[in-house]
């Protein structure tokens, strides 16, 4: 078991006017581990994801990332080009709305292949082959490779975004409500897909979700946020089955049993 974290945050604090979005938040992520961040709307979980991934700067606190050569980087002190390079190579980001990440005027295959080209691939035939392979991995018919994303359903768009994100084999993926806004029938398939890919490629992930069932099925560990604070964290099943904090008890007891 490696003792070196992949990502470490200490004392993250950020307010929007009088509203605290993050209050002295610490977080650690180890290689190959899935960490879920749960809480209601406005709890600060999406803000935390944006700050951890360097997309938003905290007012105080620090985020450390350890690269494959084991060098530590202060994410918020990195020059913009270096941070962008990191987002194109070691990291991936899966948005709730796949349109934020996809290029809607470019074919499905192009959306996947583009990431490979940004990563340095130049051989057109190989890129196309690789893109088709990834479409199949996310269960999109290879015959749709030249179709534009706008002809895809919501579930297919989400799977295309996942293919585009994972094609470069990132070590760390940030996911913001990846199953939100999808039909329940599509959600289950997507969950199984994400679980399989994360495990097979040994990807570490920070997963933001308001759905406790999603957290249970995907995450090793969980952090519960309320009004910008982490009120409880630990083993996913322990926190959900034996919640200690009043707010976690309320969240868990409020879930409808289907």
């Amino acid at each position: 078991m490696s003792d070196e974290t992949l990502l470490s945050a200490r004392g993250l604090t950020l307010s929007f006017g009088a509203i605290p979005a993050l209050v002295d938040v610490d977080a650690d992520l180890w290689p190959g581990e899935v960490l879920a961040v749960v809480g209601e709307s406005g709890s600060g979980k999406s803000t935390l994801l944006n700050v951890l991934s360097g997309r938003m700067a905290p007012q105080s606190g620090v985020v450390w990332y350890r690269d494959p050569a084991r060098h530590l980087h202060d994410v918020h002190a990195m020059p913009q080009p270096a941070l962008r390079a990191l987002h194109r190579s070691d990291w991936g980001f899966v948005h709730q709305n796949p349109r934020e990440n996809l290029r809607m005027g470019v074919s499905a295959g192009g959306n996947v292949g583009e990431r490979l080209m940004a990563h340095g691939s130049r051989h057109y035939g190989q890129i196309r082959e690789h893109a088709i392979d990834w479409l199949e991995q996310v269960e999109i018919d290879a015959r749709r490779v030249d179709d534009l994303p706008r002809t895809f359903s919501g579930g297919m768009l989400q799977r295309l975004q996942i293919a585009r994100t994972l094609v470069t084999h990132p070590r760390l993926v940030f996911m913001d409500e990846p199953t939100g806004g999808l039909d329940v029938s599509v959600q289950a398939r997507l969950l199984d897909l994400i679980r399989g890919l994360v495990r097979r490629l040994n990807i570490a992930a920070v997963l933001v979700t308001h759905d406790l069932a999603v957290a249970r099925l995907l995450a090793h560990r969980i952090m519960v946020m309320q009004r910008g604070r982490v009120v409880e964290s630990g083993l996913t099943d322990q926190v959900l089955d034996d919640p200690q904090h009043e707010y976690t008890q309320l969240l868990v007891s409020s879930v409808l049993q289907a």
């Binding site: 249970r216 630990g234 099943d237 322990q238 034996d242």
Partner: protein, 226 residues
Amino acid sequence: MLQTQGLGKQFLLHLQGGLRIPVLDHVDLQVQAGECVALVGPSGAGKSTLLRSLYGNYRADTGHIRVRHEGEYVDIARAEPRLVVQVRSRSLGYVSQFLRVVPRVPALDIVADAARDMTQAQARARAAALLLRLNIPKRLHGLPPATFSGGEQQRINLARGFIGRHPILLLDEPTASLDNANRDIVVAMIREAKQDGVAIIGIFHDTEVRDAVADHLYHVTAMQDS
């Protein structure tokens, strides 16, 4: 293989005005390799709570739970979450009463997914063999178990628990919804696991099953509300 010392557990229910429910106090039990300890006691005494605490599913408030993991002892009551994840993956298996899985995943994949130290092909072959042994016919292997009967789901769960070949296995009512024929198969599987040196702690409501597998009994007594 597993030893507890002064283990205590209470539930504090914030939503019920801070109601405290003490469940376990001073639990000292141990199990050796190749041995089976049965937890006994009336309904509501805390048998399941104890078993869940041993797995780290419930948080122990006091005491220690020392579990043998790769040549050392890890205290489940205190270990970092990610170490508990490792212990569960390699050393400590658990068969719960209910199956909780990603919907729409076929039974065979659910079982094969829990295998370790083998190729995917080996895992699938082993999963199929286990399911067949537990009388889950081949035609059901490719179906998600959501529509299966209670007894079938329990057998999927058992196959999933046994395929990992953990050196320590916790069993929560493994035969509760099974008919006699399937019950006897599970008894045989537990005995074989013991012969292989697996240490088992279980709750067996069925006294015949308990007599057939248990070497020792551990009495769990209900605590008075304070």
